[in-house]
């Protein structure tokens, strides 16, 4: 659903071969009733001839009885969950087996991501699947006296959201019979990244008009710091370098024909 008139949606659907319903809310009446009108009407947030009443972009998943089961909305209009991002949150098993991995003496990490390519203004999930040998544990966030495992991404121009760590489990070990939160076996750490780029790069991308470019392949580098232990010995804290690749595309800037465009409402 969007604030466009039905003619614009018809033309858009034709251009992109869309056959499912695109809903027109040209007075932003439904958008308003959902409480989704973006109040930011500053020039930077609108096209020159835009109406007001733009919706925040986001997803609702609704059960057959009308109950909202899930929703996905970013903080700003340029923080859009990709469809794949939402899908892998709902169905984690859909993440493609990774093609890259990193390892050292005590840990092996498979690197996965929700999207291999994304346009500016979308949110992509990067995943580190950690495999530990039998009998080895690492410490979970919140542990006292040990170094917790931590995923850090160096994403210049790509703001990060909070990393999502799985639930840990308590482990009691050693002569002191300490109980600490740990991870064992296989677990995943997820990190959402907003594909925004800095202002200069963004302007470069905005110069393209119509159609899509072949994109720019950008490395997304990170590191995993951790301390691995068995019930007998703790190894020195270690850091493992990680790298994902993301192809970043320009936005689709093609407008509808001039004659059917909505004009700013005075």
């Amino acid at each position: 659903m969007s604030y466009d008139n039905p003619e614009i949606l018809k033309e858009f659907a034709h251009r992109f071969h869309v056959t499912y319903p695109l809903l027109a809310d040209p007075q932003s009446e439904v958008i308003g009733r959902f409480g989704l009108i973006d109040p930011d009407t500053s020039p930077a947030n609108l096209l020159e001839d835009s109406k007001t009443g733009l919706a925040y972009p986001g997803f609702f998943f609704v059960a057959p009885d009308g109950t909202i089961k899930e929703k996905y909305f970013g903080e700003k209009y340029y923080d859009r969950f990709t469809a794949n991002n939402v899908l892998v949150k709902l169905f984690p098993e859909l993440l493609e087996p990774s093609v890259t991995h990193a390892s050292d003496a005590h840990i092996r990490v498979d690197l996965k991501q929700s999207d291999g390519s994304a346009v500016i203004g979308s949110r992509v999930t990067f995943v580190a699947t950690v495999h530990l040998p039998q009998g080895v544990h690492v410490y979970a966030p919140g542990v006292k006296g040990y170094k917790p495992i931590q995923l850090t991404l160096q994403t210049e121009g790509l703001p990060m959201k909070d990393a999502l760590y799985p639930p840990s489990h308590p482990l009691t070990f050693g002569e002191l019979q300490e109980t600490v939160p740990v991870y064992t076996d296989t677990f995943e750490i997820r990190q959402d990244v907003l594909v925004l780029l800095d202002k200069g790069l963004r302007q470069e991308y905005m110069k393209f008009q119509g159609g899509r470019d072949s994109g720019t392949l950008v490395p997304v580098r990170g590191q995993l710091s951790y301390q691995a232990c068995t019930d007998k010995v703790c190894y020195p804290p270690a850091t493992l370098a990680l790298q994902w690749m993301l192809r970043i595309h320009q936005m689709d800037n093609e407008r509808s024909p001039e004659a059917i465009r909505d004009r700013r409402q005075q």
Partner: protein, 85 residues
């Protein structure tokens, strides 16, 4: 990335719908979402509440309602800013 070829057919259909959804604003019906809500912000009605009733014309000129759009497994409703941007 999602490997569509590896999915069971009904799931593959959802995935394909969702990929198209990424391009535009749209609604489509899909099997019900799993439990374990992830809510990013407080925008719009909250998880657990009933979705407000609505009526709107689609690109084919057909009048759609919440009921006409909801399939046996539910509905995905996606709000976007504009198809003309």
């Amino acid at each position: 990335m999602i490997n569509l070829r590896s999915l069971r057919k009904p799931l593959r259909n959802i995935a394909l719908c969702m990929l198209f959804l990424a391009e535009s604003g749209a609604v489509t019906t899909v099997p019900g979402a799993q439990a374990g809500a992830v809510t990013s912000t407080e925008k719009g009605p909250p998880v657990g509440q009933k979705i407000p009733a609505f009526t709107a014309h689609d690109q084919f000129g057909k009048q759609q309602t919440l009921a006409s759009l909801t399939g046996s497994e539910g509905l995905v409703l996606l709000f976007v800013r504009s198809a003309d941007w």
